[in-house]
Amino acid sequence: MGGAALDPRRALAAYGEDYGTRYFKYGPLVEQRPRVVESVGLFLEESHLLKMFGIEKQLVVGEDVKRFLGARSALARSVVYPLTDGEVRRDDERAWQVLAELTRRGFDQFKGLKESKDSFDGFYVTAALSAIAPEYMREELLKIHTKIDRELGLVKAFTVIPQPLAVAIAEKEISCVVVESGHGNTQITPIHTYPIREAVVALYRGGAEADAIAAEVLKDLGYGDLASDEMAVRKFKEEAGLIPLDLNEALKKAKENPERLRCKVRLSTLTEIDLEDKGWYRFLIGEVVFNPAHEMFESFRKRGVLSIRDARLGEETVEGTLPLEEALLRSIRKTPTTLHDALLNRIILSGGNFQWKVPESLKDVAASAPLKVKHLLGKRLGSGVNVEVRLTQDPQFSVWKGCVVWSLALPENYLWNEKRGEGWFKRGVHY
């Protein structure tokens, strides 16, 4: 099916939603890029004062949250990050409220379409969830979209796909292994025209663990007050973090010549962090996603900084600290033998957590994420094995891209099947 056979009306109504742990990305295909909003909500405490001053809202989401932030002490009980490790707890009402409001607000920005043209009768919406998201999350999203359609009339049909599948679609790869590492988790999903569900391996670690290490490093450097400042930690992580090609080797070289690894990170006009002779810390920030079981992380585990929970997939338990290459091989081994070589040849890394800088002067010790994965697999399997690893072309938005392609191409008459969790959940048929 080429582009010419596509229904123009569908192309105009294709809409994608990527429910990430940190950001919610949404929008129609016609915009070519998703809109991005922080996945966060703030419950305003009922206050006569606010009411008197005309603020009736009880929940604000996304960037509005910053406008209403009050004392730091109030944050813990009022700010809600709805997704943890890519999931929302079934009974967490406040988290669902935030997710519903984020979704509704997204559509609200496009309600002008319906008002401007009577013939526009709603979007074909594809939402992407983590490959290991529980079934009730799909059900809740169906409810949320049904409610939004009743309110705004903008959801003509709705469906859900796994995030790794969306990545494979955006990358135009039919047989591959997608390693999607976001803020909350890392999902390894072999795909062969559809995700091989039995072979999915999930690790509950991602950008959040790198943040945790970066915060500890800040503390150890004497900037404990900054460790609770999320923005400062993230900036420090992005500026200072490095992926070591081989951690032991990198640490050895760093300690032999600390000046090479020394860097200064300017967090604001007033604050600059100098790593001085502690430049070797930079490697820990990048390594944690690949191998948190390394002995260097022992002290962090003891302090409770790194507590990565195990994932339960069917009968199997996947240890949270399983090295990434082991997890990859475990996943590929669960696919038919005939696919193994093809899958090893097409490993796609996706998600903001694989975006690390490699300074020119440190190329002998630091590596990009694909090079690191290739190195780890080469070490594990021997150098004779052909392994190809690459990053997605657009790591942050590839999930959204896959969603809009799905919205564009899924036939109108392919209706929702509850067992499979596929097909269109449609207005006039299901709600």
Binding site: M1, G2, G3, A5, L6, P8, R9, A11, L12, A13, P28, L29, V30, E31, Q32, L49, L50, M52, F53, G54, I55, K66, R67, F68, L69, G70, A71, R72, Q109, G112, L113, S116, K117, S119, F120, D121, A168, I169, A170, K172, I174, T193, S268, Q393, D394, S398, K401, G402, V405, W406, L408, A409, L410, P411, N413, Y414, N417, R420, E422, G423
Partner: protein, 235 residues
């Protein structure tokens, strides 16, 4: 007087809290224009903040803040304006509707944190409706500065707008006619950014543009997903 104290507040903890708050929102501090104590900028958007420390007299404070609202409205030193106080006390503040209706916002500083008690409404720039005032001063309206628009220029803009509205009306009529002829009630519209189209040619053009995106063009998944329903339904 409260006003005199206000001007001394630029180096106070009140000002520091406000500076931190706007810095967190990505604003850069700029030299404050006359009439505000601190000012910030993000792109072309400027926010001015008047810092107020309460005196012993609640009546005098209320009167002062009201006069500040009027003054800020009159002078409009920035596009968005706030009055900042250390606590919200009804006796000392004019009623909330006066803030809301004027568009001047109210910030409350509580220790080191800042809370938006009433969001400000960005003010529009002043447009001179008469040249008499400026002419009396022997200057053309343009010479007063960017905030004033030449009447001739206004007339030209209005004329262009009228022509544009006419063109849109004509086009709309043509669209309705072509839509009726085609009998296709589902022809759709698109983005908020102006991709409004239902004429066949234009629609095709926009569709081509959309489908030329690298992640769509030649994507083998289009065929797989397209045939997906038939295959799965047969299962």
């Amino acid at each position: 007087m409260v006003q005199e104290r206000g001007s001394l507040l630029t180096e106070s903890p009140l000002a520091d809290a406000v500076r931190r708050y706007f810095a967190e929102l990505g604003y850069t501090e700029i030299e404050p224009p006359e009439g505000v104590d601190v000012a910030f900028r993000k792109g072309e958007h400027r926010i001015g903040v008047r810092l107020v420390k309460f005196s012993r007299s609640s009546v005098r404070d209320r009167r002062f803040i009201r006069s500040e609202i009027y003054r800020l409205l009159r002078e409009r030193p920035c596009e968005e304006l706030y009055i900042t106080v250390e606590e919200i006390s009804f006796g000392r503040l004019p009623p909330p509707y006066e803030f809301r209706e004027s568009g001047i916002g109210l910030l409350r500083v509580n220790g080191s944190s800042v809370e938006v008690a009433i969001p400000a409404t960005p003010l529009r720039k002043v447009v001179a409706t008469s040249t008499s005032h400026t002419l009396q001063e022997g200057r053309s309206s343009r010479s007063v500065g960017n905030e004033y628009v030449d009447i001739d220029q206004l007339v030209r803009v209005v004329k262009e707008l009228k022509e544009l509205i006419e063109a849109v009306k004509k086009r709309d009529e043509a669209l309705v006619a072509s839509s009726d002829k085609g009998g296709d009630s589902n022809v759709s519209t698109t983005t908020l950014e102006g991709m409004v189209h239902s004429e066949t040619k234009e629609s095709e053009k926009n569709l081509d543009h959309m489908l030329a995106a690298d992640f769509i063009k030649g994507n083998p998944w289009l065929g797989i997903i397209g045939g997906f329903g038939a295959k799965k339904e047969g299962d």
